[in-house]
């Protein structure tokens, strides 16, 4: 008999079992695989500083990182991917790589770097869920980690300017959402009719973006146009995290194809625009912005007087 397993993660809000992507991935997978986890939110404890979340504690072993935790659960015979074919397993790896590479930077930016969202939503939430005196610096620390991660993975060369990469990461993220939407189609889950680890990952990435009360987010608006993805998130919430018994929704008709095509064209146009902006930016004189600006600036002039 397996020892009791305890999961430490960030707490619940916005209608979700956790507001933190990685914690959500583990929680969703545990539900899919039937693993009984004791969920211990670390809010208002010093673990917000010391622990790397999410963290699974089972007996003497402590496992971190969603991929490692999922591997550990599989070894404990909680395997939601048991029925997948080899090819489906390969597709899972590929799509998870796509999410990490294309969607995560934009999500980090939306929640932690975008000035409006950070000051109106993210910082207050994390500050209010951290104990005194950590509430003064935990949000800032997490924001710095997020910014570093974006710049290291997406920044070009040694010039650490966030404005240069913003356009590209959002365009990549929108394309990634479109691709995930195409792949999901009208099904309830990605493979057959039962949820697997890919569903857990997609849910973990999309649910906060879908449910959070963001003030300025083109990415959130883009997601909301992809009906099958929002339906996917709501479906999982209702079926696995709701109080009632699960009742899977019937597949929706193909009215989303027209939307998807329009969105694809928009994303392609954006990519072309971004290429041009990139060229302009490179040829314009370099000057350091005062603070991260959500809107990339085109012109190279240092002062612009109103007409």
């Amino acid at each position: 008999m397996a020892a009791a397993m305890e999961l430490r993660c960030w707490g619940a809000d916005w209608g979700l079992p956790s507001v933190h992507t990685d914690s959500l991935i583990v929680l969703a997978y545990a539900k899919f695989a039937g693993a009984k986890l004791t969920v211990c939110p670390v809010d208002w404890t010093w673990k917000t500083l010391t622990a790397s979340l999410p963290e699974l504690v089972c007996g003497d072993s402590v496992v971190q990182e969603p991929t490692q935790i999922l591997n550990f659960l599989r070894k404990q015979r909680f395997n939601a991917d048991y029925e997948l074919t080899a090819r489906q397993g390969a597709d899972t790896m590929a799509f998870i790589a796509l999410l990490e590479e294309k969607l995560r930077p934009a999500l980090l930016h939306t929640f932690w770097v975008d000035a409006e969202n950070y000051s109106n939503l993210t910082r207050p939430w994390f500050a209010s869920h951290s104990p005194f005196p950590l509430n003064f610096f935990i949000p800032g620390r997490l924001a710095n980690i997020a910014l570093d991660r974006i710049l290291l993975t997406k920044g070009e060369g040694l010039l650490h300017r966030i404005t240069g990469v913003e356009g590209k990461i959002y365009s990549d993220a929108k394309e990634c959402l479109n691709l995930i939407s195409y792949r999901l189609g009208t099904a309830n889950y990605f493979f057959d009719n039962s949820p697997s680890s890919l569903d857990a990952f997609v849910f973990g990435f999309l649910a906060p973006l879908h449910k959070a009360d963001l003030t300025s987010s083109p990415l959130q608006s883009h997601l909301r146009q992809l009906d099958n993805l929002t339906r996917f998130c709501d479906n999982i919430l209702a079926a696995h995290f709701g109080a009632d018994k699960p009742c899977p929704l019937p597949p929706v008709q193909e009215t989303m194809d027209a939307n998807l095509q329009k969105l694809t064209q928009l994303v392609n146009k954006e990519s072309n625009l971004i290429e041009k902006m990139d060229d302009n930016l490179r040829s314009s004189p370099q000057h350091k912005p005062h603070r991260p600006d959500p809107k990339p600036s085109l012109s190279g002039s240092k002062s612009s007087l109103p007409a």
Partner: protein
């Protein structure tokens, strides 16, 4: 459209491969693919949306996995990857660019949490990646049936490098070779697209 590829020192140094068309220089695989697409040549037009989604996903998988194998191990990087990367340039530019590339790759790997991996773990990751690719390829000539796409180009580029360079240990090449269909895939592409130029 005629492409003239020249290796010359430009302000885009550090971002090979690049193509030089007229007065434009485009570097790195992603932008080159987009550039040729804008000029009307695209390999993935015949794919439907679901296939395109899968193709992009596999490209991300290959890109990270195989990059880490080439650059993250000190011995491999010193003996193979850096000399190869710096070969088109004269000293000391080549050396500087090679170190810069290595530094960039390692920083990125650290940022996504792969920095602390041992060589064994890297080999295991490459193995899993090859397994995924092998299962996806199956018995088809290309990844998306009869036509070559960007994914085929990317996979060929990386696997060919691993197979043809004499690494410090042959373990990496052995692991790739154990997937027979991947081996045949590389040979087939080399013969079809590259051998006619050797006249």
């Amino acid at each position: 459209m005629s492409l003239a590829a020249e290796a010359f020192v430009s302000q885009m140094a550090g971002k090979i491969p690049f193509i030089h068309v007229g007065n434009q220089v485009v570097s790195e695989l992603g932008p080159i693919v987009q550039f040729t697409k804008a000029k009307g040549h695209s390999l993935s037009d015949a794919l439907d949306d679901v296939q395109r989604a899968e193709m992009k996903a596999y490209m991300e998988l290959v890109y990270n996995m195989l990059l880490s194998a080439e650059w993250c191990d000190d011995a491999t990087a010193a003996e193979i990857s850096r000399p190869r990367y710096s070969s088109p340039y004269s000293w000391p530019l080549g050396k500087i660019l090679a170190y810069q590339k290595q530094w960039e790759v390692r920083r990125k790997m650290n940022a996504i949490g792969w920095g602390g991996k041992t060589l064994e773990q890297v080999y295991e990751d490459v193995n899993q990646c090859c397994q995924a690719l092998s299962q996806r390829l199956g018995t088809q000539p290309y990844f998306f049936n009869k036509q070559a796409t960007e994914l085929d180009a990317l996979v060929f580029g990386h696997l060919f490098t691993i197979l043809t360079t004499r690494l410090t240990s042959t373990e990496l090449a052995e692991r790739v070779k154990s997937y027979n269909n991947l081996l045949m895939f590389c040979r087939r592409i080399e013969q079809t697209y590259f051998e006619d130029k050797k006249d």
